[in-house]
Structure formats: structure tokens, C-alpha cells
């Protein structure tokens, strides 16, 4: 008969879990601590001014010349056109210069 070597005692499952939670939590909070104690910039960045979208309409006046006989009919056109659209509901389609 030979003597079997003695096994090292194993930690209980609960202990292993507890150690994992403690080490994970410590790592997480120590990172927050580093961020908290890091030096701040002396002057905070200036707030960006809210962007204004400027739409510049070109049309100032509508001139209707002798109507040509043909299929399309002008359904609506702006009368004064420095700002604001003349029509509100969505058209079926639009035509403009060669859209990319």
C-alpha cells in the first residue's frame, strides 16, 4: 500500500463567488475613482451656439406669360415668395435640376 498524497482543501463554491464579486466590484469602482480624481480642465469648453438653418429662396416674383397649350397645368404657385412654401401637402413627385 502506498500513501496517497493529501489533497489541498478546496474553497467552498460560495466563497469563490464572493471573492469574484469583491474583486470585480473593486476593479470597477477603483476605475471610477481614478476618473473622479483626474484633474479637470481649467476652463470648460464653450457651449456650441445652436445652429441656424438659413433657407434662401430665390424667387421674388411670379410672372405668367401667354400660357402654352400643353399637358401640365399650374396647380399652385407662390404669389409672394421671399419666404415660406406655397404648398403644403406632399406632391406625388418633384422635378429639380439633376439630383445626384
Amino acid at each position: 500500500m502506498t500513501d496517497r498524497p493529501q489533497r489541498r482543501p478546496r474553497l467552498a463554491k460560495g466563497w469563490v463567488r464572493a471573492i469574484a464579486w469583491i474583486s470585480g466590484g473593486t476593479a470597477f469602482f477603483s476605475a471610477l475613482g481614478v476618473i473622479g480624481v483626474a484633474p479637470k480642465p481649467a476652463v470648460s469648453a464653450p457651449k456650441a451656439a445652436p445652429r441656424r438653418v438659413i433657407i434662401r429662396r430665390i424667387i421674388k416674383r411670379v410672372v405668367i406669360v401667354d400660357p402654352a397649350p400643353g399637358v401640365p397645368v399650374v396647380a399652385s404657385a407662390p404669389t409672394v415668395t421671399s419666404s415660406g412654401g406655397g404648398v403644403t401637402s406632399q406632391p406625388t413627385s418633384t422635378t429639380g435640376g439633376s439630383h445626384p
Binding site: 434662401r56 399637358v71 404657385a77
Partner: protein
């Protein structure tokens, strides 16, 4: 009621097929497939940015006679005839001038950086030296052709007609503002974009047949006063005091030609046709009948 049946990119632009909301699903699917295939096929034929396109092959063979496909010969004949009818205001031989002005690459690359002209203006007006006989073409040795706009209009016409042949009662095909209605359509509401603010409309039309095309010198500039509309009289980007022209014609290929001609020559250059012009002084000139809102 209308619905968008297909939407895709082709020829460097957005293409949309619109039809009746109540059309059958099978007809709509068949029409969508036909329209997509037609744009892919005609782009392969007419693109100047594809080295393997038929157009590139013809330009590479300048100075020599070359055989072309029947559709290529048909559209080239239409372009030459349009040049003759408009006294050269429409000119398919502006390619060298266009490249000299800086439009030497696909538009997505061009817009990546503003630039000026690459070279001094190049003389145009050589369309009457193109020899076209049946399916044989011979360009002069120092001339190259660009069929970009008229080819797009031609493709829109083919696509709209094919969509109806596929079973839709009517169809509207719009390729970046060049549009054609085919079949028995109701009055469709079409907005003309304001050239200064394309998200807004400067007028709205009711259209149930034919085609509309719009040319603008503001829509795709790549530098100060640099845009794709070459004035064949100067060989430089047009500066005529007209910023945008929308023209109605029976076909989109015709409307495409006439929209350019209207920018270059004003109302007098497109007599008797329904036109909307936006002038640099802020006038919107409408030569169209007025009616009830669509």
C-alpha cells in the same frame, strides 16, 4: 392614390417608379424588375465613366469608323437631330469642354472637393461632323461625345413604357427630376423645386401625360460658377441669367434637351411649349395654363 413601387440608384441619381395604389402585386413586381433592368442596361451602354461602355468605346475610336448597337445609333441620331433643330444650343460634342471645366470624374468624387476649371474653354459645335450611317459611326479625331442627359431621358421613356407593358395601368418614372408619365394616369401632382432651396417648391403642376425635365445651374456646382451645363457658344459653363428651366414635352428625351436649351436661350428658344423659368433676378416665369390645385 399612388404608391412608390421601386426606388433605386442608377446613372448617378435616384430613380423612382410610381404607380397606382390599386395595381396588382404581380404587375408591380414585374414593372419594378423591368425598370431596374432597363436602367442597368442603358447605363452600361451610355455611361462615360465606365471604360467598357459603348459610349467610351466610340469615344476611344474617334477618328475611325466603328460599329454600334441599334439603340446607340438611334439615340445618337436623335441627339444630332436635336442639335440641328436647336441651332446647336443642344450639342452632344461638349464632352471635351465639360472635362476642361472640371467635370472629369463621377459626380460623387467631384463633389468631394470644390475645384475650378482644369483647362481653358474648349470649342464645341462639331456635331455636324459626326458621320452616322446605319450602325456605323465616325467621330472627328479630336471630338468626343457625351449623351448623359439625353440618355437619361431616353432611359426614363423606355422604363415608363415598359412598366405599363408589364401590366400597370399607368406609371411615372422619375430619375433625379427627369420624369415621364405613361399609360392612362390621373392628374399627378408634381412639385418644381426652388433652385435656391430644393426642399421647397416654387410651383406645383398637375400632369397626366408626357414628360417634364428640369435643368439648373445651381443643383450640382463643383466650384465658383462651375456646373455641368456647358454653353456650346462659349465652351464654358452657362451664364445666361437663367438659373433653372423646367420644360414639358411628349418624351423625356425631348424635355431633357429642351430644358438645357431654355436655360441657354430663354423662352424664345423653346416656342409653344409649357415652360417654367427661374431667373437670377428672382422672377419665376410660367408659360403654362393655370387651373385648380391638384
Amino acid at each position: 392614390m399612388t404608391r412608390r413601387i421601386a426606388s433605386f440608384r442608377a446613372m448617378g441619381t435616384h430613380v423612382r417608379l410610381i404607380g397606382p395604389a390599386a395595381g396588382g402585386a404581380r404587375a408591380a413586381a414585374s414593372a419594378a424588375r423591368a425598370v431596374t433592368d432597363i436602367f442597368a442596361r442603358e447605363d452600361r451602354r451610355f455611361s462615360r465613366f465606365r471604360p467598357d461602355s459603348e459610349l467610351s468605346r466610340v469615344n476611344a475610336a474617334r477618328g475611325h469608323e466603328i460599329q454600334v448597337s441599334e439603340p446607340f445609333a438611334a439615340l445618337l441620331a436623335e441627339a444630332i437631330e436635336a442639335a440641328r433643330r436647336t441651332g446647336g444650343l443642344f450639342d452632344p460634342t461638349v464632352l471635351n469642354a465639360l472635362v476642361a471645366a472640371g467635370y472629369d470624374r463621377d459626380f460623387d468624387e467631384l463633389l468631394a472637393g470644390a475645384r475650378g476649371a482644369l483647362n481653358p474653354p474648349v470649342a464645341c459645335g462639331r456635331w455636324d461632323e459626326i458621320a452616322l450611317s446605319g450602325d456605323r459611326v465616325r467621330l472627328p479625331g479630336d471630338v468626343a461625345i457625351d449623351l448623359g442627359g439625353i440618355a437619361k431621358g431616353w432611359t426614363v421613356d423606355l422604363a415608363a413604357e415598359q412598366a405599363v407593358a408589364a401590366g400597370l395601368p399607368w406609371a411615372l418614372v422619375n430619375a433625379g427630376g427627369d420624369l415621364r408619365v405613361a399609360g392612362e394616369a390621373p392628374d399627378l401632382s408634381i412639385g418644381i423645386e426652388d433652385p435656391g432651396a430644393p426642399s421647397l417648391e416654387c410651383a406645383r403642376l398637375a400632369l397626366h401625360a408626357g414628360a417634364l425635365a428640369t435643368s439648373s445651374v445651381l443643383s450640382r456646382p463643383w466650384g465658383e460658377d462651375m456646373h455641368e451645363l456647358i454653353d456650346p457658344r462659349t465652351g464654358s459653363p452657362a451664364d445666361t441669367g437663367i438659373l433653372q428651366a423646367t420644360v414639358w414635352a411628349p418624351t423625356c428625351a425631348q424635355a431633357e434637351v429642351l430644358a438645357k436649351v431654355a436655360i441657354l436661350g430663354g423662352l424664345e428658344a423653346v416656342p409653344d411649349l409649357p415652360v417654367a423659368l427661374v431667373r437670377a433676378d428672382g422672377d419665376l416665369v410660367l408659360r403654362m395654363q393655370t387651373g385648380e390645385a391638384a
